[in-house]
Symmetry: C2
Subunit: 200 residues, 2 copies
């Protein structure tokens, strides 16, 4: 809920609201998802966390009287999606990505093993999807894994398409209306899909 | 399945079996769980992964023409349990720990926020538990989160007990018989508990 000011309070609302909006627009998508997950956690709606970035540790110093210090390590590709957790007994699993492109979503940041992981989750009846943010339009979509995988397998892997058209995501996905609490209320869509017996 | 040798094959079975057994005994528990999860994954029984160890990255070098190199980073405490995933639509969440102690399991390697995470998962109807290995006895137990949390809240937090007696784990837990495929067949217990409508 927005803060309620007493009647007569003079505020440069326009400026501060603009700041808020710009702040949110500027906030990276990952941070928006993390804040939404924190909201869901605190409200006891769901327990969903981002997995730590996998790091290959090569060298560690153990200085006396202080914490172990990693002095050589490398980032690794994640072998699964970034987010998972539980919502009312349902297993939730998703990847979240953002682009500045206007009309399509580049697939370069997805990896074959992540797609395989989504397929494995679907086989176990996990609720599996991708969240796409088009930051230019400030629009966010939930695309069920089955539709993402279909595009990946049929259009992408043969080398024809290196990106998913926005029109495909508009057609098969569900738009999430960016809010305040939570910023990205993606579980509204998940709840709707569960309630209407949708397959993921 | 064990390899089937043709009749008449002479093998020093005792020695090689002993090696296998010693090899397994020596294998750290985490590796046994990871191998079991790989078995479950390949057999399409469940999709359960260990989360990466969280690392706080402080400094990164970006050398030309080679991968980014982390030159300063620190290990962080995990804010959740180590393992989670999905089994036939059920959300699975657990921690796995090993001790050389003979009669009790030290609680020093558990953290309050991990216990809180277990409570949160239970509220969302997640299947939540701890796997304990007593390496001296080569015995492994599954203890449902409710019994672990009960001990933690009632016996540990007031400072009375710094470890869970093996007798408590024997009384409230379920022994897992160490096998070959998978080594730690903990989903047998989970399946049994689901089938008998047990609460976690």
């Amino acid at each position: 809920m927005p803060i309620q000011y007493p009647a007569g309070t003079v505020l440069s609302t326009k400026t501060s609201q603009n700041n808020i909006i710009h702040g949110k627009r500027g906030m990276i998508f990952e941070e928006q998802i993390n804040q939404s997950n924190l909201y869901y956690l605190q409200k006891k709606i769901a327990v969903i966390h981002k997995k730590p970035t996998p790091v290959q540790v090569v060298k560690v110093d153990y200085p006396k009287r202080s914490a172990a210090k990693i002095t050589e390590a490398y980032f690794r590709h994640a072998s699964t999606t970034d987010y998972n957790g539980v919502y009312q007994g349902f297993y939730i699993d998703f990847e979240a990505k953002e682009t500045k492109n206007k009309t399509s979503f580049p697939l370069t940041n997805f990896h074959e093993h992540q797609v395989q992981h989504m397929e494995q989750c679907l086989e176990q009846q996990g609720i599996t999807f991708v969240l796409f943010k088009f930051s230019f339009h400030n629009r966010v979509f939930l695309l069920k894994a089955q539709h993402f995988i279909q595009f990946w397998r049929e259009k992408h892997k043969d080398g024809k398409r290196q990106s998913i058209p926005l029109s495909y995501i508009e057609k098969y996905g569900y738009e999430i209306h960016i809010g305040m609490y939570p910023i990205i209320p993606y579980l509204d869509i998940v709840k709707h899909l569960i309630d209407t017996n949708n397959k993921f």
